[in-house]
Symmetry: C2
Subunit: 134 residues, 2 copies
């Protein structure tokens, strides 16, 4: 269900398309879907196939360079992430995202899972709200 990610090797060739995706993601504080990124690149004048965007994002996520979440609409959204374990505080309206972490929550989750006899515990936590600007 949520397999531990085994960091794959990074892509081997630096292509124009991969650089473009990489740049879009840089300095962006929101989650974006493959289709959104594809649209943005096209509007910017870059030529790139939707398939390539999908594949590039998957590679980057597999390599641990991106965080991926599933939206309520069934899409997969990506965002560059810092290493280490953390969670997200996401604006429902504009999508702005803040990375947060809370050791207390980690401990609570592990403790309650073990209490019920569960091992190899992991968890997903996303916080949603409306940010100041929205």
């Amino acid at each position: 269900m949520h397999p531990a990610e085994s960091p794959r090797p990074s892509p081997q060739r630096r292509t124009r398309q991969r650089q473009a995706v990489d740049e879009i993601l840089t300095g962006l504080a929101e989650f974006r879907t493959a289709q959104q990124i594809h649209d943005e690149l096209r509007h910017k004048g870059d030529s790139i196939g939707l398939t390539t965007v999908y594949r590039t994002l998957q590679l980057m996520a597999d390599a641990g360079e991106l965080d991926a979440i599933r939206t309520a609409e069934g899409e997969t959204a990506y965002r560059r992430c810092s290493g280490g374990h953390h969670h997200h505080l996401v604006c429902r309206s504009c999508g702005r995202t803040v990375e947060v972490s809370g050791p207390a929550v980690e401990r609570w989750a592990t403790a309650i899972a073990e209490e019920h006899g569960f091992r190899e515990v992991s968890h997903d936590l996303e916080i949603f709200g409306t940010c100041q600007n929205c």
Copy 2:
């Protein structure tokens, strides 16, 4: 992104199909997708359309009778739930689910969101692990 659910009115007619879905869900401690429920009903000999299963599950979820989660594979899985706010401890292997709740986590999530200027805060939290039997 995660709109507050406004509990719709429950279905108005008690049909054979809706009773069948209801019964499958009763006493089941795991999340099931629409397709899984459809399969189980068919194997049991009940005749029901996949479309009807989808619609019935949506109605029940809208009425607050079911919890819905998105699997990593992109499917929506449902499970009968108790009222009130709670989270799930899910077995990665067999799908067995335990409802858990932690006031401390709720407070933490709300606090950290407000700290960042977010209002109307909600959150999603699922804990995964391997249960004793697996």
